[in-house]
Symmetry: C2
Subunit: 684 residues, 2 copies
Amino acid sequence: MSSFTALDRTCINTIRTLAMDAVQKANSGHPGAPMGLAPVAYVLWNRVMNYDPADPFWPNRDRFVLSNGHGSMLIYSLIHLAQIKNADMHHAKLTEGVSLPMEQLQRFRQLGSKTPGHPECDLTAGVETTTGPLGTGVGNIVGMAIAQKWRAGYYSRPGFEALFDHRVYGICGDGCMMEGVASEAASLAGHLKLNNITLVYDDNGITIDGHTHLAFSEDVPARFAAYGWNVLRVQDGNDIDAMLKAIEDSKKSDKPTLIALKTVIGYGSPNKADTHAAHGEPLGADEIKLTKKGYGWPEEQSFLVPDGVYDSFKSGMGARGAAAHAAWAKLFAEYKAKFPKEASELEAMERRELPAGWDKDIPVFPADAKGLATRESSGTVLNAIAKNVPYMVGGSADLNPSTKTYMKFEGAGVFTSKTPGGRNVHFGVREHGMGAIMNGMALSKLRSYGSGFLIFSDYGRPPIRLAAIMNLPVLYVFTHDSIGVGEDGPTHQPIEQIMSMRMIPNLIVIRPGDANEVAEAYRFALQQKHNPVVLCMTRQALPTLDRTKFAPASGLTKGGYALNDVANPDVVLIATGSEVPLIVDAAEKLAAEGIKAKLVSLPSWELFEKQSQEYRDSVIPPAVKARVCVEMGTAMGWEKYAGETGAIIAMRSFGASAPLKDLLPHFGFTTAAVVAAAKKQAGK
Amino acid sequence: MSSFTALDRTCINTIRTLAMDAVQKANSGHPGAPMGLAPVAYVLWNRVMNYDPADPFWPNRDRFVLSNGHGSMLIYSLIHLAQIKNADMHHAKLTEGVSLPMEQLQRFRQLGSKTPGHPECDLTAGVETTTGPLGTGVGNIVGMAIAQKWRAGYYSRPGFEALFDHRVYGICGDGCMMEGVASEAASLAGHLKLNNITLVYDDNGITIDGHTHLAFSEDVPARFAAYGWNVLRVQDGNDIDAMLKAIEDSKKSDKPTLIALKTVIGYGSPNKADTHAAHGEPLGADEIKLTKKGYGWPEEQSFLVPDGVYDSFKSGMGARGAAAHAAWAKLFAEYKAKFPKEASELEAMERRELPAGWDKDIPVFPADAKGLATRESSGTVLNAIAKNVPYMVGGSADLNPSTKTYMKFEGAGVFTSKTPGGRNVHFGVREHGMGAIMNGMALSKLRSYGSGFLIFSDYGRPPIRLAAIMNLPVLYVFTHDSIGVGEDGPTHQPIEQIMSMRMIPNLIVIRPGDANEVAEAYRFALQQKHNPVVLCMTRQALPTLDRTKFAPASGLTKGGYALNDVANPDVVLIATGSEVPLIVDAAEKLAAEGIKAKLVSLPSWELFEKQSQEYRDSVIPPAVKARVCVEMGTAMGWEKYAGETGAIIAMRSFGASAPLKDLLPHFGFTTAAVVAAAKKQAGK
């Protein structure tokens, strides 16, 4: 006998009709997915998930991710019906009222609404992650699942398991399944046996071009079984009893679960269901009437929420969530009494704060002409911080020996299914997946980091951008940041990567010029709450500047700073990262010829641009037009600091495979070249 | 009984020792993969592949792709031993001597050598594609396989099947298998039943971090079976009889074949085999001696090619290839006599030329104030050209109804396993895979194109870059090129994408400003032989300029041109794409106030930079500092044309979800804003 009633069916049709009506009113959007997915989403939200609508920040809430984010009206309808509390998501504070009053559904896709075309977690309480670019939500799910396992593995104590036992539910579509990022994440989830995942695959057979048989005939369930997933099937997208059983079964598995659910896109639309016409455009007023008629719905009414629907959510998700939250709060109080240090760390983590003394072991590197690669000092600083920030969890895309981001201190451990409190994550050769997973981890409040060769930031560019859209403080450590890569050649030598990341809004790119700038870069990065940070590190050794002769490295936090104090300079030399030593050497040579060079280290354009005009002018005096900018990346963009007449020593082609000592003169990165350019600029 | 002799074993060990010695001499590189893979590569090259070393351009040659490109010494050893003819790969011309004389192996990874760290097809005869970024070679393989099927499907005639019957062989490693791009490509290959593929999976269980069990425990063969592949297994990487049998079996399948081959990385190295120490660094002189001893090799000799080895390749690949090539040439002569038009098209295709009259149907669009979206005119022009260029084959990443790149003319058809002469390829929601596949198709001389939303160029950035490195004339049509996307919101609105592609060396980005610039953009793009081209098109309608009042659209080929003829302008207004109408409108308003504005359409920075300084100064007069640059993308980089004091009207944040009519004033893209900035610049 079914546990569902007519009211449940009404709730499901309410979700459907709200989606249809909002898309129609906006004259833009995707009605088909919400119509097909309403039943399973309803079952998840109202029957299964532990989620307290009164507090969208409750740490142990079950997570819900709509990876096919174009179906945003599904999630907006649910948020509305569940009457989730309003919040300032950016500052993680509850505010007055509910997240999405009806008026917001009616302003779907309008300027300034909280119901944008694709769900945005920084904007709308109840939205756990920003999705839209397909496949990426699957990666977020895996990241959230890692975060749950890690919290439980690291912070749980006997008797307190229930503090950390939430699950991650998600829905994805055919498009997600075709994207490689979802494949990468799913493979890792299987490897890590993340049995806290229940992912519903909306197998509706329709994509934008038409039926999936045009391009997609693989056996998705068999593929997921190959990844090590538990695979369940539900043949009818309206069989809510079968769905509920499958979801409950998924909780018992020792593997992540995929529920392959056969749905009908645009279910109920007599002329558009099961066609791509239902995918990405309004059904049209006439078709909506016909569809509502089929649902037994008042044809003329829009945005109708029948009697009993709000109550159903109140007595379902609402009551269940409130009770679970209350029980959790009681248990957490006991935990806090018994484990005050751990509890306070957990609370700090939720606030994106750091434990006291987090930076006490950051070293000061002594001046050293030989120096060390910034990837080396990066490894040292990262370890010095991470040992004091337990919830810093991360790893590399199979490049630990090269990127030096492995946490080596005692007790760091590796995150595996058997050691879920381990801090080092082996992401595998999966840069795109890594980024999406890092975002998921950060959404669950871990200080996630990931590393790789800078060139492969291209593979993971979409989730870097999404981190910036979501204002997530993830940390990237990209090493081998120029033709300094050497022999591996042009396929591995970044040219345009640094500059092209500087263009991503909200993202802060830092390219430190020596070991002490590395230390400052990490000190800065860890304190971010709302910005992703990319650190660019060298493969090759760089001298550690003598800070008794040059300005302190703390100038890095202003993005750019003068290394020396030169009144009325003949020329200003500006560099980042590995080219800072080059301008330092050049200045010495120039001084010997009586030419005064002002030296500017410019590790972060974004931070420099945030400073006052006065400060910026004090660093790069507008009156001094004689300038040389040096960076072993693309020249494009440097006009900004070089001005119309300044020299730019940079890359204007791909690199080449050779030892670095041969590449430097080949591409013109020598002291002599900088000196020559400076003299020409200075007119001497 | 084995068909292999002791000499075959010697050949295999020659490949291994050449790789060890070259890496040692370079003191850099990856010896382990070539040592493990030498047997299967030898079997493929010397026993199976139809490849004529005397002509690396023979169109019907079997292709070989090393997707794990870091094992480049494997391919270099083979090219050397097979004595492949030297060639100017960039201009597709045979030259004197052999591609890789021993001296080149000894200059492995040195500046100016033809043996760079990762194989580069534009440089070295015998290298079919540039690999290194993992997984991408698998996509190239799928593209080459599509090209073979398409050639046969479109050009074969009864009795002439043997002209078009080559196969594509490849090797990939664990790293490739973890990357999503390989998953995407493999899924499509299974869907298309590309049974001309034999892909060897080097299942050596080792990655850079250590054993694959750290991050990769999926069942790869089962995954490929789920994609619809024929999966074979060979348990011993030295069992060349079993390998030969598996390869021969693969030819009989109606599906693409994966041969899962268990190998030992660094095979024969007593202390480093089967460890990641054999992966990415020289074995060391002592270990090399021990390894050679184990092979029964003279320990002290480096770069040794024992007697009989060259002869073995000569009588193997050499004789077989020469015979196959000769038979092919004879048959092609008959084909040419019978089908002169088809033969001449095939010959033109090989030279990357276009059939006579290819551009005769490109329309001229009449002036039209209402106009049409450039994606619409793009679709019209693409169809007008494609119907006259049979080997233009391409499609979209599941966005045909939006990107308008579907070929609709009679007979275009869809590329499927049953209709392999079809021209429209459904790539599926697989942007990264699409790019890698397009590269493979272009390497096999098709004029491949692909389309998608511009924002998702981020997903496919790595193969765009590789096309630029390889100098391949692939064509991208990216639509929805700004916040003009409207309601889909910030996840779908490009900001930094156009500028960041302008930074990729060799890549030409064109953003046309009206329908006639679209026509010129295509006319230019199709004529490229060595440059990939990205066309950026709008979602929204743009007026078609009245070219009796403005300069002809053919100015586009110079990258930038003056739309009007203004002596001593008060201000120069510069725009691209959808912002051209904005400056045109602004100029009219300014004229009414007596302010003379010079209008510059700047659709391609790359092409503009190739013009003489004189021409550029004639377009943007250096003396006129009053300038306004307008582009609905990132402001970064525009300093180049704005100069130190010019105004830049551009994006400085992510976009927002709303109807475009509301976004334009919100983000300041109005005639009024341009007029105001222009007046301020002009000091009026």
